[in-house]
Symmetry: C2
Subunit: 257 residues, 2 copies
DNA sequence: CTGCCGCAATGATCCATATCAACAATACGC
DNA sequence: GCGTATTGTTGATATGGATCATTGCGGCAG
């Protein structure tokens, strides 16, 4: 009931350019084949699973879930990034998470969607009907088990984020985010500290960052500048950040000193 | 994959004072028999399930989970209230949720506990070893399915709370909390507005409230007074609050106007 | 009944971050 | 490659909520 996927799987050599046999699934060449949900399934299971999937590509800004609409689908992201968010009537927005390759979307829902989701980058994904997936889970208990494991992992991240939103200062939020994002990119399963000079590529805008961390874009900008001036990070360009002193970031993130 | 328990079940007449037969489980008289996880199980399933449970009572303040310790158990609350929280090194605390009768504790964890849990009121609960529950779930798929459903429901609540912590004002937080707490007490499954003059009983201290809502106790106190002065609520005593104008509270909570 | 103790309410002041306002850099259409 | 639009940075000021301080209240031991 634990084991959140093998970190090493990310680096698995992918079978590219295979002549497609009649039995081959489109999954074989998918960047997410050895991530998240799909990694939990055998080739045979995946073949069934794949038949229930509707593959699609979406341009930037396209909405794939809308808060308050009936919840009809799950999605599994194959490539790109999706932001998940809620909004208040006057337009204030809280981004509750980002979904990238291997991430499963839709567990946070009841009869209706409780969040909206839209593409930050161009996105490729597999769509499943809820009913279809439920039917599949009757035959493949591994599916339901893996979904539970994914949900539990998401709950863990949520706890962390609530601590951040409720109790951390702006600087602590930025430091926490940088480390979390680095860990996510490295797919370093253990909570180990990223190595010095880890280079983050950040598809998100400052505005996404702000709405994820519960501050304004100006505060994001200032906090990043602050960390840069103190030599903890470097910012070669808007969408790249180099972590010079991860340990120092960690100290800030955890509210030490 | 949805249906979060029948609201009406709360009012089920409970079988009291039955002469215990040899086959009876202690569950028959449990206040949580028709709530949460246990409600999803048949009597027969419950009998097996019950054998894996270790029943216990805890005094106020007793820690039942500690952040960072190996995650060994799940708990199901039978009576009383537990607070779930994370802390920063300098003592700042964020309460991420409260668990009362029928609530299941431990889904938000990996190898280690990511949160601590302690009794707010005297608590009675059933404890399960993780391994034991996993074994049980092999034979009873309904168990895993219900756990997934519980986890999904928790994810929904988490999204709501992140919006609150990241983007709402102090007054909006208090108004949101009062409505959410009322819905929880009424076990009104649908998101309907509580009726005017709904009386909330609040075992929590102002400090619990503050750490749950990401503000200080002074701000909680001031916001409550503010709502009281505007006639939206009444506060007969510290641990009781009457909702005079739920619709007005809802407007505040949703950031309308 | 009285005095103590812990919690809650209220008031005074301060500060971190929001808001408002230029300005700079980058991306983008033609 | 040029000009415009968009996004990000930095500065000045305002403010919501934190912090510090005082007072009030309710429970409880003696």
């Amino acid at each position: 009931m634990s084991s959140h996927g093998k970190a090493a799987a990310v680096y698995h050599p992918l079978a590219i350019n295979l002549a497609a046999s009649s039995s081959a699934t489109p999954c074989e060449n998918c960047g997410a084949r050895h991530l998240g949900l799909c990694d939990a399934l055998s080739d045979e299971e995946l073949a069934f699973f794949s038949r229930a999937a509707h593959r699609m590509s979406l341009p930037v800004g396209k909405l794939l879930l809308e808060e308050g609409e009936p919840a009809q689908h799950f999605y599994n992201v194959n490539a790109g990034t999706v932001r998940l968010f809620k909004t208040l009537q006057d337009g204030r927005r809280q981004i509750t998470g980002f979904a990238s390759a291997g991430h499963f979307i839709g567990l946070a829902s009841s009869e209706l969607n409780v969040i909206s989701a839209e593409a930050v980058e161009p996105v490729r994904l597999c769509r499943f009907s809820r009913a279809g997936l439920q039917a599949l889970s009757e035959d493949y208990p591994a599916l339901e088990r893996k979904l539970l494991s994914l949900a539990m992992h998401e709950l863990v991240l949520n706890q962390e984020q609530m601590l951040l939103l409720g109790r951390k200062t702006a600087l602590e939020r930025i430091a926490s985010f940088l480390l979390a994002w680095a860990r996510r990119q490295e797919a370093c399963a253990t909570g180990k500290l990223p190595k010095p000079n880890t280079r983050l590529s950040l598809a998100l805008s400052r505005s996404d960052l702000a709405d994820y961390l519960g501050v304004t874009i100006e505060t994001v900008s200032r906090s990043l500048s602050h960390l840069k001036n103190d030599g903890l990070i470097e910012i070669p360009n808007t969408h790249e950040i180099i972590l010079r002193r991860p340990q120092a970031l960690e100290n800030i993130a955890e509210g030490a000193g």
